[in-house]
């Protein structure tokens, strides 16, 4: 028999008590009462039939969602003849176990169907669908978590135990289970528990002393307020949030590049929590902050959408690339729904959700809402002081540059006049080929004349390329080319293009190449393109901002492998070193407008205008490049010629100016480096359902909208399928944070509860669906959700309510009688002891040793060295013995796939995975780490040293350490045991033992 999952089903089973004709199992059961369609038949259809017999992909052409479709039938004819089961095809298929395939109906289900048809197949109510009701197989739209919040009053229990409304709910349940709650824990247990819980650090001995001696009535409340107001609160609870959104600081996958500027998001989370930003605003900004609050951190907040892994190894094949984009969307849509709504939607990428009322169309509607989100970097607005400072520096640079230009221009003009007079066009940096496309297609130096392909054309602006089919190719090189400089004067007409080549030297099969490429790996930036990115590394330079600019761009390739970029005559970011390749004579050529290859296509095509281009068989010096840029390609003046033209005084002046410009640039770069890893907003495509998740099988077009299963709020955003990107995300943010969205407030209340008690009222914080846990205290959950909303979504208000409850303040002692009824303590008859998380453990050791650097925010620290090997980035642990590393662990640079450290051993998750709750394991590797890890031993020594400077006698040293580590006074027996040990083995050996002890590791 069906196991009833919801009360309605249970009732229906009870109502229709089976007449006892079941003595022998072969007999078909018969129901005494007439069959009730809604209670008996609809659940069978929904749970057993509709997966295949509804929607656009009907199996056998049969639709079972309403009576007329049923009568009309499918490919084999009418499914039902009312009043006669034997004449009904549906009954025939069901009776013979042909349907449903693999998993036939039970005798009771069959009996109900048969009898229903015999009784005339009466269809009560409207058409049904897969999601219409909850069955024993799946959740429908009537699923508990999708219903509106209930208006609840706390039960009135006048007990000496209860302190606030939370306790009234808890006490009611305990009474019903006949479990006695525990009494309040002692003061020093409370302060240790509360301090770890709210700020993630142990209380100092002084703090313990103040609290235990505070006799005022509100001593506990004062402590709660102090901790909630501590700036360390944001660090502690920010760490929880970073788990939920899988914040990681590298891309993952093959290259696993670091995200060196992802940390501002972490600080945004910390600061927002410290400011008690209303939770709905906190979430809105993480979905659409770049639109809602661009000037106050919102652009950083949307980094939330792109915290996950991101594969930058892009194949040439289009289908493969599209599939990879869908993988990104799955990660993003999955994270948004799980983190904010506790709904798992990933399954619906390939088919309607098997357990929850989420269709593929729902899923792709959410994809559409986020379709314009791309992984990348943005320049964020600078604060006013910095802007002012930058303005001054820029003015200085302009002034210096003008002076330099004027000085050089005189000399250059003189050289040019001489050259013209001497008719010596070969002086200066001598290109081996030069094209002035404003004039013609010929090589002004050698024989590398250009032929146009596709729609390429030439006009007075230069070589005009459409980014689609246009490119140009030269004759083959007549000399081999190793050291080289590529140079072009170019207009980028579309700043959003990704990967077009301006000028490229390539093997004539188009495989091996060195090219000036725009925005293939970083939006809006230049790079040295090459086969398999083998000579690529980010220049880490600025974005192009104006498509109208004529830009001079040059890349030099030196014999020692050094590759340098120049833009408008100034170095473009950083140089780096790779291998130099040689292009053979007669089998190499230059292509323009095409990154590489033999034909047009893909993202290799450049859109823009190339005014002039040049190729050199040597590395131009920085000065030469600058000179060339300034000459605008009309005359080439060498550094030597320029210098020779200057008087000694002017020479010195020039050197000085160049030096000053360089320094000022450095300063400007330092303060203006405001590029952060965050979500980019790109034009959003129209999205189709992808049938079975296959990018080649496009189904219906969808509009951006929310999950239709939440019926109390309008899921339709009122947007067209091709709506603007920003409108889509704005509406998504509004829909998610709608006060009437019942999941939104329930999920965060449960999350907060989970972190306070070690387990939520719903045991699966990211899953409020069919496979998730059911709430142990549904009314309390709804009451707290309303309380949160009524208090301006203040999370601190919620914390305060929870931690001041008697429930929270209970002692943690085991009670075997209670444990026999509720072994997991789901009904909260005590406070469950918890082990310190890896971060809290490390922070504690630093705090006990007196080494903790308590600064809030900033860039953070690294406990690993990053290196690149064969294109992949690796992260190996390094010793942690520098004061700048002694910061709280939330500030640790956290790439994916780094080598194992003590933190991983203590269950800190790799940021590849969404982690709504941490595992709490106990392993010998943890024991080895605590006993032998260099950092732990370092901290033991530092603690010993610190104790020795403050306390002279071993007894006092023990007393102080016990206070710092356990937040209590040492017992006489403890001291007597410790002192001889210290005398024999040293104080740091004793600290090491304390660090390993259970009393330190567990919070009671």
């Amino acid at each position: 028999m069906m196991t009833p999952r919801n009360p309605a089903t249970a009732r229906s089973v009870l109502l229709n008590q089976l007449v006892a004709l079941l003595a022998i199992c072969q007999l078909t059961p018969v129901y005494a009462e007439p069959i009730k369609f809604q209670e008996q038949i609809a659940p069978i259809l929904v749970s057993r039939c509709l997966q295949c017999h509804q929607g656009s992909d009907l199996q056998g052409g049969l639709n079972l969602t309403d009576l007329s479709s049923l009568m009309q039938g499918g490919d084999s004819g009418a499914a039902i003849v009312a009043g006669s089961a034997t004449k009904s095809l549906l009954w025939e298929r069901v009776r013979s176990d042909e349907m449903p395939p693999d998993n036939p109906l039970t005798n009771h289900e069959k009996a109900a169907i048969e009898q229903w048809i015999e009784e005339g197949a009466v269809w009560e109510g409207s058409p049904i669908d897969l999601f219409s009701i909850t069955t024993d197989q799946r959740a429908g739209r009537d699923w508990w978590s999708l219903q509106p919040l209930q208006k609840v009053e706390p039960p009135s229990f006048d007990s000496g135990w209860t302190r606030n409304s939370i306790d009234q709910f808890i006490y009611q349940n305990l009474l019903a289970k006949q479990i006695e709650p525990s009494t309040e824990a002692d003061r020093r247990t409370l302060i240790r528990r509360l301090t770890y819980d709210l700020i993630g650090l142990p209380p100092t001995p002084r703090e313990v002393e103040i609290f235990t001696q505070d006799t005022s009535d509100n001593a506990y409340e004062k402590l709660v307020d102090r901790l909630l107001n501590s700036p360390h609160y944001g660090e502690r609870w920010g760490r929880h949030w970073l788990d939920v959104v899988h914040f990681g600081e590298s891309n993952g996958f093959e290259y696993n590049q670091p995200r060196n500027n992802a940390w501002p998001y972490r600080n945004w989370v910390i600061n927002s929590l410290n400011d008690d930003m209303p939770y709905d605003e906190f979430v809105r900004q993480q979905i659409a902050g770049d639109i809602l609050a661009p000037d106050s951190g919102g652009t950083i907040a949307v980094a939330c959408l792109v915290t996950g892994p991101h594969n930058t190894t892009k194949p040439s094949n289009d289908t493969m690339r599209k599939t990879m984009r869908q993988d990104e969307m799955e990660d993003m849509v999955g994270m948004v729904n799980q983190a904010f709504l506790g709904m798992t939607t990933n399954c619906a990428r390939c088919h309607d959700h098997k357990f929850d009322p989420i269709s593929s169309s729902d899923y792709y509607s959410m994809v559409s809402a986020l379709a314009g989100v791309e992984f990348g970097e943005r320049d964020i607005p600078l604060d006013p002081n910095t802007v002012q400072k930058a303005k001054q520096l820029k003015a200085q640079i302009n002034e210096l540059t003008l002076t330099l230009n004027t000085l050089e221009q005189e000399a250059r003009d003189a050289v040019v006049r001489q050259q013209v007079e001497e008719a010596n066009p070969n002086s200066g940096p001598q290109p081996i080929a030069a094209w002035n496309f404003q004039a013609d297609l010929s090589d002004q130096i050698g024989e590398l004349d250009v032929t146009l392909f596709g729609t390429a054309k030439r006009d007075t602006q230069g070589l005009v390329l459409d980014g689609m089919t246009a490119f140009a190719r030269t004759e083959r090189l007549t000399q081999p080319l190793s050291e080289k400089t590529l140079e072009a004067w170019v207009r980028v007409e579309d700043l959003n293009q990704q990967g077009g080549g301006v000028i490229s030297v390539q093997s004539s099969d188009g495989v091996v190449f060195d090219a000036i490429v725009f925005a293939e790996r970083e939006p809006k930036r230049w790079m040295a393109g090459s086969n398999g990115f083998s000579r690529y590394e980010s220049f880490a330079a600025s974005n192009e901002t104006d498509p109208k600019n004529l830009i001079h761009i040059a890349i030099t390739y030196a014999a020692d492998g050094k590759i340098s970029g120049y833009r408008n005559g100034f170095p473009y970011g950083n140089s780096y070193t790779k291998n130099l390749v040689t292009f053979a004579a007669e089998s190499s050529e230059v292509v323009l407008g095409l990154r590489h290859g033999v034909e047009a296509g893909g993202n290799r095509m450049f859109r823009g205008t190339i005014a002039q281009a040049r190729l050199y068989d040597r590395v131009l010096s920085a000065e030469e490049v600058a000179a060339s840029a300034q000459s605008n390609g009309i005359h080439v003046v060498t550094e030597a010629e320029l210098v020779a033209q200057l008087t000694p005084r002017k020479r010195d002046k020039r050197v000085q100016l160049i030096q000053q410009i360089k320094q000022t640039h450095e300063m400007l770069k330092g303060i203006e480096n405001n590029s952060v890893w965050t979500a980019l907003s790109i034009p959003a495509a129209t999205v189709n359902v992808l049938v079975r998740g296959n990018v080649l099988r496009e189904g219906d077009v969808v509009s951006p909208r929310g999950l239709s299963a939440i019926q109390i709020i309008e899921s339709d955003f009122g947007l067209k399928p091709d709506a603007a990107e920003q409108d889509r995300r704005l509406q998504l943010a509004r829909w998610i944070t709608d006060p009437n969205n019942p999941l939104f407030s329930r999920v965060i209340v449960n999350r907060i509860w989970h972190y306070h008690f070690g387990i939520g009222m719903v045991s699966t914080p990211n899953d409020f669906g069919f496979n998730g846990g059911k709430p142990t205290h549904p009314l309390l959950l709804d009451w707290l959700a309303s309380e949160l909303q009524e208090n301006q979504w203040s999370l601190k208000h919620l914390h305060r309510l929870i931690v001041t409850s008697a429930t929270y303040r209970q002692a943690s002692k085991m009670n075997s009688k209670a444990a026999a009824i509720d072994s997991e303590n789901r009904y909260l008859w005590r406070k469950t002891p918890t082990r310190l998380e890896g971060e809290a453990l490390r922070d504690s050791l630093l705090a006990i040793a007196g080494k903790l650097d308590p600064r809030i925010g900033g860039k953070g620290y690294r406990d690993m060295k990053e290196y690149k090997y064969k294109g992949s980035h690796f992260y190996d642990p390094i010793p942690q013995n520098q004061p700048e590393q002694f910061r709280r662990t939330i500030y640790r640079f956290s790439p994916r796939g780094a080598k194992r450290t003590m933190l991983d051993t203590f269950d800190c998750p790799d940021p590849s995975t969404l982690t709504p709750q941490r595992a709490e394991t106990t392993t010998p590797l943890q024991s080895l780490a605590l006993m032998n890890n260099e950092f732990v031993l370092e901290m033991a020594q530092a603690t010993a040293k610190d104790l020795e400077t403050h306390q002279t006698s071993p007894k006092d040293q023990v007393r102080e350490l016990i206070r710092r580590a356990y937040s209590r006074e040492a017992e006489q027996q403890e001291i007597e045991r410790a002192v001889p040990f210290i005398q024999k083995h040293g104080l740091s050996a004793y600290c090491r033992v304390v660090f390993n002890s259970n009393e330190l590791l567990y919070v009671r």
């Binding site: 194949p315 040439s316 033999v598 031993l937």
Partner: protein
């Protein structure tokens, strides 16, 4: 070992699956000594998933994992047609989709093929030593994957998914079966001495499984495991006194706060850690092996010494009861190559890589056999995808390298419960696409779990809404491979 201790599933949904937090405390079945803990373990045995689901054929696994994509048509998938069409254009109607999208002319296999052993299994001259154990191999020639991009394909090979963040096969098996020893991790990884593969430790990540199931990478130099010993030696007497004092303090703590399962487990974990400190140096000391054995594995000469050490070490680890050893052949991508990614020059690339591993792997198979361990050990020899029958070159050009091929490739298994000296499945006449008895990684994983006594549909772990499986929602055990 670790699994005997405590590994609490974070989402204990007692209201659904009937698995309470307490019941999920442990998955191990062997050798617990602490009295309090044995009661914990017996509680778990009664209820936890009833593993094994049926009688296992294999108890342990050694997985040789080739990074970069070994060419099937140059190793285990003999295609005489290639020689006939050498230098010719592809005649397929559909233009193949490959990573670099460059379709050159067809190239013949660069190594000769011969039939070997009584079985007459075709093995190319690329692997002369493996050819001598042909009768022990079970070759699958009809593998397919869903990505021709190294890292997603490698993730799929090891986790069933192309994304970051899913548990690898070794972690799943550790989760399902635990370890037979208390002194060593259940899942050990022996990376290539030339470096970690791309993606680093994601390749042996426990994903959402408890961290106890993460692969523990043994360093080829220095201390095998991080933190096995303190960086500066601590006097034995201090060490002993410290442990004694720690035990006393923990007893004091129990008296103060009451007994909890987790506290007992942690006390026990200190004892196990001390045992590990004895076992790990012993098992990694290859000097304990005879000269003949060392020579058999190729430890005496340059190209084979590094990989040979890992093969020999893996045998020693398996003997000690480690459940899953993964030996990696190949480091990260990029140029010059240190893996099987023969884009430029197949002969040069594959000769170099094969020479490193051919003799050691063959030695491992022979050694396990002579020690009667092959009967209940499963050997896996896999790569993320194969290579194309045409060269990676311009139209009409005959190149020397081959591109990635996810549509058809080969791997072999050997040992427990398998029909040996046999092939399964076929690719088309050029070796491009798998055409007969196609095997996806899901099927391969299902078969591996089956041999270990586990039903791939029942080995599950709840994570964010789904009872996750190694095989996602797919997979069929390949019955034809089973003895």
């Amino acid at each position: 070992m670790f699994d005997n201790i405590k590994s609490t599933q974070p989402a204990s949904r007692n209201d659904l699956a009937g698995c309470s937090r307490r019941e999920l405390l442990s998955f191990g079945t062997f050798g617990l000594t602490g009295a309090a803990l044995s009661s914990l373990v017996s509680a778990s045995q009664k209820s936890h998933r009833n593993i094994p689901h049926f009688v296992p054929k294999a108890k342990r696994v050694v997985h040789i994992c080739l990074m970069g994509g070994m060419s099937h048509i140059d190793s285990f998938d003999y295609k005489p047609e290639l020689a006939k069409l050498h230098g010719k254009e592809l005649q397929y109607e559909e233009r193949p989709a490959t990573f670099f999208n460059r379709i050159g002319l067809i190239r013949k296999n660069d190594w000769g093929f011969k039939q070997h052993g009584e079985s007459g299994l075709w093995v190319s001259d690329l692997f002369p030593n493996l050819a001598t154990v042909a009768d022990d191999l079970t070759v699958i020639n009809s593998m397919v994957a869903d990505s021709a991009n190294h890292t997603p394909a490698t993730f799929q090979q090891n986790t069933g998914f192309q994304l970051n963040g899913f548990p690898v096969m070794g972690s799943w098996i550790s989760y399902g079966l635990g370890s037979e020893t208390e002194d060593l991790p259940a899942y050990v990884v022996l990376p290539d001495a030339r470096g970690y593969p791309a993606g680093g430790t994601i390749n042996w990540s426990n994903g959402f499984l408890p961290s106890v199931h993460q692969g523990v990478a043994f360093n080829s130099q220095g201390t095998p495991i991080p933190d096995l010993f303190p960086p500066d030696a601590i006097a034995a007497e201090t060490e002993a006194s410290s442990r004694k004092l720690l035990a006393e303090m923990n007893q004091n703590d129990l008296a103060r706060y009451g007994t909890e399962d987790t506290l007992l487990a942690r006390i026990r974990s200190h004892e196990l850690a001390a045992q590990m400190q004895l076992t790990v140096p012993e098992v990694t000391n290859l000097e304990n092996e005879t000269k003949a054995t060392r020579r058999m594995y190729g430890l005496d000469k340059e190209p084979t010494a590094e990989f040979g050490k890992n093969c020999l070490l893996s045998r020693r680890l398996l003997e000690k009861g480690v459940r899953f050893v993964q030996i990696i052949s190949g480091g990260s991508f990029g140029s010059p190559r240190i893996n099987w990614d023969g884009h430029e020059d197949m002969v040069q690339n594959h000769n170099r890589e094969a020479e490193r591993i051919d003799q050691p792997v063959a030695a491992l198979i022979k050694d396990l056999k002579q020690r009667s361990m092959l009967e209940d050990t499963l050997i896996l020899f896999t790569t993320e995808f194969g290579r194309t029958p045409y060269t990676q070159a311009g139209d009409g050009e005959l190149g020397a390298g081959r591109d990635h091929n996810m549509y058809g490739f080969s791997l072999f298994m050997a040992g427990a419960g398998l029909k040996s000296g046999t092939n399964y499945g076929e690719t088309d006449e050029l070796g491009w696409k798998s055409v007969k008895d196609q095997v996806h990684w899901y099927d391969f994983h299902a078969t591996v779990l089956h041999l270990l006594g586990m039903d791939h549909e029942k080995l599950t772990f709840y994570h964010n809404g789904i009872e996750r499986r190694l095989t996602n929602v797919h997979g069929n055990v390949i019955k034809e491979l089973l003895a």
